[in-house]
Subunit: 222 residues, 2 copies
């Protein structure tokens, strides 16, 4: 089936939103933790976190205009810090609940039964339940002219993760932490590793790596 621009534009708006949101493939599910100047906390689920660089360690994410994440944006601009907390299977429904439209005076931590967690010297709240927590400092913010979405870029200042998940070569086995993936607006998925693949070079055959990063033979890729 080939959907052209016209047939997409003619879709009922909610159907189009589900359709277009499905096209970006499997996405990360993360909770953005913030607080305002009076330490009132806020939590918001996003599926747009992306890698921007390792040196310095940078990440970006998108906040949609006029959405519930508006409180998140205002808190980040006021405090210049936030946390990114990977969503795991264990608290998936709670994480999804944070997308509801709560008043500014209400904390999604309370409403979704998630636990704020603090680290000395960093004002934004982490999600205790998350197995992969990042402390972020705001580096750049811009409103994209094309549709008024907000691009937030931050530098990673701390990474809190169980040591057992960090492989000797630096790769983090996020699958072993039961971190979920999201597709579309509302579909959540667990994963099963097919394999790690060797660094690609011209005229050299790719070979599989073990989870730890060592070369080995593995029939699935022979």
């Amino acid at each position: 089936m080939n959907y052209d621009a016209r047939s997409i534009a003619d879709m009922e708006p909610r159907k189009r939103a589900r359709f277009i949101n499905s096209l970006s493939g499997f996405k990360s599910a993360n909770l953005i933790g913030t607080c305002d100047k009076n330490d009132n906390t806020n939590l918001s689920i996003v599926s747009s976190v992306f890698h921007l660089g390792a040196e310095p360690p940078l990440m970006g994410f998108i906040i949609r205009p006029n959405r519930v994440e508006r409180h998140t944006l205002e808190n980040i601009l006021a405090t210049e810090c936030y946390t990114i907390n990977a969503v795991a299977l264990e608290f998936l429904t709670s994480a999804h609940q944070t997308s509801a439209r709560y008043d500014r005076s209400e904390s999604e931590f309370d409403k979704a039964h998630l636990s704020p967690y603090y680290v000395d010297g960093f004002t934004a709240p982490f999600v205790l339940e998350s197995p992969l927590k990042l402390a972020m400092k705001l580096v750049e913010h811009q409103t994209l002219a094309v549709n008024q979405t907000e691009l937030i870029i931050g530098e990673i200042h701390n990474v809190i993760v169980p040591e057992r998940a960090v492989m000797p070569d630096g790769y983090i086995d996020i699958e072993t932490l039961d971190i979920v993936s999201v597709s579309g607006l509302d579909s959540y998925h667990v994963t099963q590793r097919v394999g790690r693949l060797s660094y690609a070079k011209p005229d050299k055959k790719i070979h599989p790596l073990t989870k730890e990063g060592d070369a080995t033979s593995w029939s699935a890729f022979e």
Copy 2:
């Protein structure tokens, strides 16, 4: 384990790259198809495609500086069009092979044994093997000041997808198309749906949806 900014900065560079690239969670794996003014084709795997909006339908992705994707950037700027092709399990190793550093005169289609596919009136090549193909027109390009990465924003003009994967409510069941997810630099994963969750509202319990989008009871979420 709490890795602070200093311990991250002190990591061996390749280890740090693997570590930081793991922090953005499960990512989409997509092949960007382009051609130059002389119809020489190019193909490059990226893991940074993200949703920007449904009306108009927009997507962004990141090109790293001085990387093999440089040919991709030059072609997009020259022709103002490109394709996004979701990577499926069946041609995963070929897709990974496109990350090798080929000369400009070499096409990754040939080198990775993937088939270019054309649609009348659109110059950029699709990947025939991909079950989810998008025709994109360049809308905005900017070099991010923070680390000289390139942000490419495009509008979705065509969506080529098997009709059986499009649910009545617009959601596309990308899992049924065997589309893979990537974590870190080199780990590929297949998925298993936990469930679709209802639109979250304050003071209303979330309930599961069927894959088709209808409400139902499902014990995993009771």
